[in-house]
């Protein structure tokens, strides 16, 4: 009896305090504002929502956003639900929430039927069981596509500047054609390799990399093939060109045929010498290795982008005693080519080969522009690293990716 009485008295004292907690949950303070605006630098499908933090945010409370195509609702379509302590705007020090959503996903059928751009209306609700609070104003927005992504402005300026540099130097090279190019031993050795093949009466093998015609390294390789084919035609040596990609095959056939024509030897062109070896990496390697061993090619050219097969090709060629010249922009395969080939062109030397072999002023001009651009980048790197070390991030900011 005494215990029951004591429990009753204690609960009377505790009741005001328990209701104090209830009061704290009940009195959610909504955010003072709610904005919806078109997300900048996008394709017009995204809407940005932004609102200031509320004092009553907690891990139990959530923000829910409802949307409608009409100002007066009904706001029944839930487009967003987040915990109230998450999704803060970057750099706002947790003072603002920011989210990007695509309302079109929720109103697909309706927005397909509307002409022009639909307007969306959003209502923000803050809720924590059993209470919910709504912000008074409804935010509305008509998202629009942007014609320029301003976050990529620095990228665009660099592109225009570099393009202008290339074009200027090409023009400059027309007036001053004797531009200096440092020696690239691998390219100078092409004539020796072709001469060796001619003396031995053995064929020359030209191996493209594994990439398709969309790859710059393949385009560069095809350019070199054209120049080599002219010399091969003049020396009356057999040239075998293996391909892995059908489009590269077509281009190679065209290039070699035209080269033979230019050398005055259209009769010497054999279409079957420019062939498709296989369409997959390792069957291609097996086929080309077989050709090297059976036909005992005197000179092998590996030009383009290679993968794991580079060592198999180069080692097989080395075992047959052929002179080998490789040119690749594939960073991981360079060590294998360097150890097994007689000459290796590294990285952009592959792209410079066309200009180097032809010595055309227009092509040389663009090489000079590349060097200037590299010099600018090196300067920016050194300066930027030095400044960043002392806390000045200006140059890092200039080159920040959008």
């Amino acid at each position: 009896m005494y215990k029951i009485f004591l429990t009753f008295i204690l609960s009377i004292f505790l009741l005001p305090y328990s209701s104090t907690f209830a009061v704290e949950v009940d009195m959610l303070i909504p955010p003072s504002d709610f904005q919806a605006f078109d997300t900048p630098n996008d394709n017009g499908k995204s809407v940005s929502l932004r609102w200031p933090s509320s004092l009553s945010e907690s891990t139990e409370a959530e923000y829910v956003v409802y949307a409608s195509l009409r100002k007066n609702g009904p706001f029944t379509t839930e487009v967003l639900r987040i915990n109230s302590k998450t999704m803060y705007e970057e750099g706002s020090d947790s003072n603002f929430h920011y989210m990007e959503i695509k309302p079109g996903k929720f109103f697909k059928k309706e927005s397909d039927n509307t002409d022009g751009k639909p307007s969306y209306f959003f209502k923000l609700v803050m809720m924590a069981n059993p209470e919910n609070v709504a912000v008074e104003n409804i935010a509305s927005v008509t998202p629009k596509g942007n014609w320029f992504n301003w976050k990529k402005l620095n990228n665009f300026i660099i592109l225009i500047a570099f393009s202008a540099l290339v074009l200027w130097f090409i023009e400059h090279a027309k007036k001053n054609p004797n531009l200096y190019l440092r020696k690239i031993s691998g390219l100078d050795a092409i004539d020796d390799a072709l001469g060796r093949a001619t003396e031995m009466g053995k064929p020359v093998l030209y191996v493209h990399g594994l990439n398709g015609m969309g790859s710059i390294s393949t385009i560069a390789a095809v350019n070199i093939l054209g120049r080599i084919a002219i010399r091969v035609a003049e020396y009356d040596t057999t040239l075998k060109v293996s391909n892995i990609d059908p489009i590269v095959l077509s281009v190679s056939q065209e290039v070699v045929k035209e080269s033979y024509l230019e050398a005055g030897r259209p009769d010497a062109y054999v279409e079957d010498n420019v062939f498709m070896a296989a369409s997959e990496q390792f069957p291609y390697v097996a086929a080309v290795s077989g050709i090297m061993i059976r036909e005992k090619t005197a000179a092998n050219f590996f030009m383009g982008y290679f993968y794991a097969e580079s060592l198999i090709l180069a080692e097989t060629g080395a075992a047959t005693g052929a002179i080998q010249i490789a040119a690749t922009d594939s960073y991981t395969q360079l060590p294998f080519f360097i150890t097994t080939c007689d000459y290796t062109l590294i990285g952009e030397e592959l792209y410079a080969a066309s200009a180097y072999l032809s010595r055309e002023p227009l092509l040389l001009g663009s090489l000079r522009a590349q060097d200037i651009a590299k010099g600018i980048i090196i300067t920016a790197l050194v300066l930027g690293a030095a400044l960043a070390t002392v806390g000045i991030g200006f140059i890092s900011f200039l080159f920040k990716a959008g």
């Binding site: 594994l210 990439n211 997959e280 990496q281 993968y307 395969q333």
Partner: protein, 269 residues
Amino acid sequence: MERLLRVDRRILFAFVAAAVTIPLLIKFDLPVIATKEVKGIYNKIESLPEGSHVLIAFDYDPASKEELQPMAIALLHHCFKNNIKVIGMTLNPGGTGLADSAITEVGNEYGRKYKEDYVFLGYKTGVELVMINMGENIYSAFPKDFKGNATTDMPALKDVQSLQDFDFVVDLASGSSIEAWIAFGKEKYNFDLGAGCTAVIGPDMYPFLQSKQIEGLMSGLKGAAEYETLIERKSSAVAGMSPQSVVHVLVVLFVIFGNFLYFMTGRKK
């Protein structure tokens, strides 16, 4: 000494064959410690809630199966164990059989249902072009899955319209598709990307790790072994560590011995 320098290649090949075969027969375990690169992928998947969508691109062919299939299987085990929905696809025509068998076998092991918990979309030609299409609308890129079912109403693809709706994308590549996924996928459509690759192209991926363009990287059979260790399911990759270690030691010994002979015979360039 000079004869040793010009030894027949086949003798060296025999040594390598023995170095691979003997550890597989004797079977000894080596400790595998997970690196932070592999933990990047593990932690990301571990952080995903149940019902999340993970896209795995099985961009490898049978030649790279020994390195990448264990990675794929370990990843699938992790996803299915955590009740994550797995969507598979491949940009390599040689990879369809391997991808389909991996995803089906592991899915069945966990009692997952095709079309509800996982789906294999199959192969599409075009690499970057497919990524752009998937980035806009996954259903226009893959109107049907590998088995010919329409993809539009699949429960496994619910709430997924495009690449942006995936919680995590992992590319297992034997070629250059990882760079393509970064340039044409992540940079355009902004999703979290992880990568697995053969050991040969692993060094190529380090700049992307440092610039946080990929969350994590599994490189070669060791990367697969580290992942198996993290998910506490040691399998073929961990078993492959002993022969791999022995061969690495053998190659180092070859290098040292070759240089020793070179200097002893007094050769100069």
